[in-house]
């Protein structure tokens, strides 16, 4: 406690003391930077590896494209988890993205892919804002259930209004052009892979930044102390609404990509099991890091695809057991497992940056 520090209040920032203090904050900053560079390096390596997939593992291109599309939606779930909220209805936004593309592509032949993506972003964003105004009043189990209710209503509308939506058969999404170019099937598969990859990388970067910004940090405060949030002058509801809209848009983007890859939008996309699947994957991957969303999705999809080939209906069993193991021994999901294995979690106590 030094008396001279009172000069610091309110305008003239600190006395040099804080800066010149101990050597350890300096070391900490160094460490932070080091950890960040490592993360950036990992990001670049993964990006490059994914970029060469069509040339090396060409047969996996569509599998990875679909995993990335779903991973985008899981990234949205992850934002809400940051605020301590779990939605059991976010598949609705996934479906909204897919149906936005379906309607547009049946109305305008040869419409461009970028327009379909734009439409999906707009539709899911607007829907997220409207629904968000209601659901952000609730927390915890109620939040989850109200989301579920909205998605079930949406699902039955998709099913019942078959003269508009095609009912349970869904709607075809015609292959769009890309920047005005007409593409053949094989070319399109490669092209959309790269578009999805681009959006996935961009989203990871944006979400990563957002979660560290004041707005993203406020999201964590919704989880830890809404009273204090109010008493610094911020409405917890609007903070959560911001995160909610972002998560809805991410699901919408995931949905439009999935729809375009499959050439189809079906009510299935909005069904509640799809919503809980997204939550499942987020828990599997681990909410502490954006990488968890995509890592979780790839593992999930791989188990589902390849386990089914080995033994019928075994994938639910395998994934169920995996989740139990994760919850009991590594509640931070794959992210935590990875950190433990690589010894990165030791750094966590030293660098506040690393822990999220």
């Amino acid at each position: 406690m030094s008396r001279k520090s009172l000069d610091a209040f309110p305008d003239h920032a600190v006395s040099a003391t804080a800066a010149a203090e101990a050597p350890w904050p300096v070391r900490r900053r160094h460490r932070e930077k080091y950890a960040m560079n490592k993360e950036l390096l990992a990001f670049i390596i993964v990006a490059v590896l994914l970029a060469v997939v069509p040339f090396t593992f060409g047969t996996s291109t569509t599998f990875i494209a679909m995993s990335l599309a779903k991973g985008l939606a899981v990234l949205g779930i992850l934002i809400l988890l940051r605020a301590g909220q779990v939605s059991f209805g976010h598949a609705m936004y996934f479906a909204i993205g897919a149906y936005a593309a379906a309607f547009l592509s049946s109305a305008f032949r040869g419409i461009d892919m970028l327009l379909l993506i734009g439409a999906a972003i707009l539709a899911s964003g607007v829907a997220g804002a409207i629904v968000g105004i209601f659901v952000t009043r609730y927390r915890g189990i109620f939040f989850g259930m109200v989301n579920l209710a909205f998605s079930m209503v949406f699902y039955s509308i998709l099913e019942k209004a078959f003269h508009i939506t095609g009912g349970s058969d869904g709607m075809r999404i015609r292959r769009p052009t890309l920047l005005g170019m007409e593409l053949k099937r094989a070319e399109f598969d490669i092209a959309i892979y790269y578009v999805i990859l681009l959006f996935a990388l961009l989203s990871v970067w944006l979400v990563w930044r957002y979660l560290r910004s004041p707005m993203g940090e406020a999201l964590r405060a919704v989880k830890s102390n809404e009273t204090r949030l109010e008493y610094v002058g911020l409405s917890a509801k609007s903070v959560l609404l911001g995160g909610y809209i972002a998560s809805a848009v991410l699901c919408g983007i995931g949905g439009v990509f999935m729809g375009m890859v499959q050439g189809l939008a079906t009510p299935e996309h909005a069904f509640w099991t799809r919503s809980s699947e997204l939550v499942f994957i987020a828990a599997l991957g681990g909410p502490a890091h954006v990488a968890g969303a995509f890592g979780g999705t790839v593992v999930f999809e791989a188990v589902r695809t390849y386990a089914a080939a080995l033994l019928d209906d075994s994938w639910q069993l395998i994934l169920g057991v995996t989740l139990i193991v994760i919850i009991l021994w590594a509640p931070g999901g794959m992210v935590e497992l990875f950190r433990r294995l690589t010894g990165l979690d030791r750094a966590k106590t030293l660098t506040p940056e690393a822990g999220r």
Binding site: M1, N225, L229
Partner: protein, 252 residues
């Protein structure tokens, strides 16, 4: 002891009434705060002191009466609005963002004050970072700056809570037993620094206090709260020596 009744009126509560079932917390409270004043509220446990702060900040709606701030009616406005007008609060039970470090708590508060909502800028990169480090130093929390708030010892939690309120650059600071839980060796040191800083920055304050030594040193005026009423109010050297007060509040 100077007289503040001539300086501008900041906070003014009139005829506040609030009861919880059979418990009468406020029964016609008139209390005002002028610029430059540091008003101590003393009174027995469960008298209604915290309730008063809850009403002033819009957390509770009174059953009667009104609260005005700088001549503007603020009764039962939401806390965030009242906070934005310039009334900051430190709590009896500290309210921190448990998952974040103490510094991040401060940075988040100042981001709201300065409306830093760029979603791509790191919280740690806000330009007021140095100012916040200064405030932590001021309240003696520099040593826990990078500790996660949930891991702090009680005393540091109280002080960090005050620092968050200071980060908002309020006109009026409300504190609820500011140094309870702080090691008694540091108590007066911290309070001395804090009150000096408040005086220098022309921040007025209301503080609920059980420690009469604190009251006599730092209050410009004392209000005695008992049975939902202000029993008496006046300069500390007068009030603290009033036999009735000594018997009912200090002695009891």
């Amino acid at each position: 002891m100077s007289d503040y009744s001539a300086s501008p009126l900041l906070l003014q509560a009139e005829g506040l009434k609030l009861r919880f079932g059979g418990i009468i917390a406020a029964d016609g409270i008139d209390l005002s705060l002028h610029e430059g004043e540091h008003l101590a509220i003393i009174g027995p446990n469960g008298a209604g002191k915290t309730t008063f702060l809850n009403i002033c900040t819009g957390y509770l709606r009174p059953q009667g009466g009104s609260v005005r701030f700088e001549n503007r009616e603020i009764t039962a406005q939401p806390p965030r609005q009242i906070t934005r007008l310039g009334i900051a609060r430190a709590f009896q039970i500290p309210q921190l963002f448990a998952e974040q470090t103490v510094l991040e708590n401060m940075l988040l508060a100042v981001s709201v004050r300065e409306r830093h909502w760029n979603p791509l800028r790191n919280l740690h990169a806000v330009p007021e970072r140095r100012e916040m480090e200064g405030l932590l130093e001021l309240v003696g929390c520099s040593d826990v700056r990078d500790r996660v708030a949930s891991e702090l010892p009680e005393g540091k939690r109280k002080l960090a809570d005050i620092a968050i309120a200071l980060a908002l650059k309020p006109r009026v600071l409300l504190m609820d037993e500011p140094t309870s839980g702080v090691a008694s060796a540091d108590k007066f040191d911290v309070m001395e620094t804090l009150m000096n800083a408040l005086r220098q920055a022309k921040v007025s304050s209301v503080f609920v206090e059980h420690d009469m030594e604190m009251v006599s040193r730092y209050a410009t005026r004392v209000a005695v709260w008992a049975q939902g009423k202000i029993q008496t109010t006046g300069a500390p050297e007068v009030v603290l020596n009033d036999p009735d007060v000594v018997r009912n509040v200090i002695g009891g």
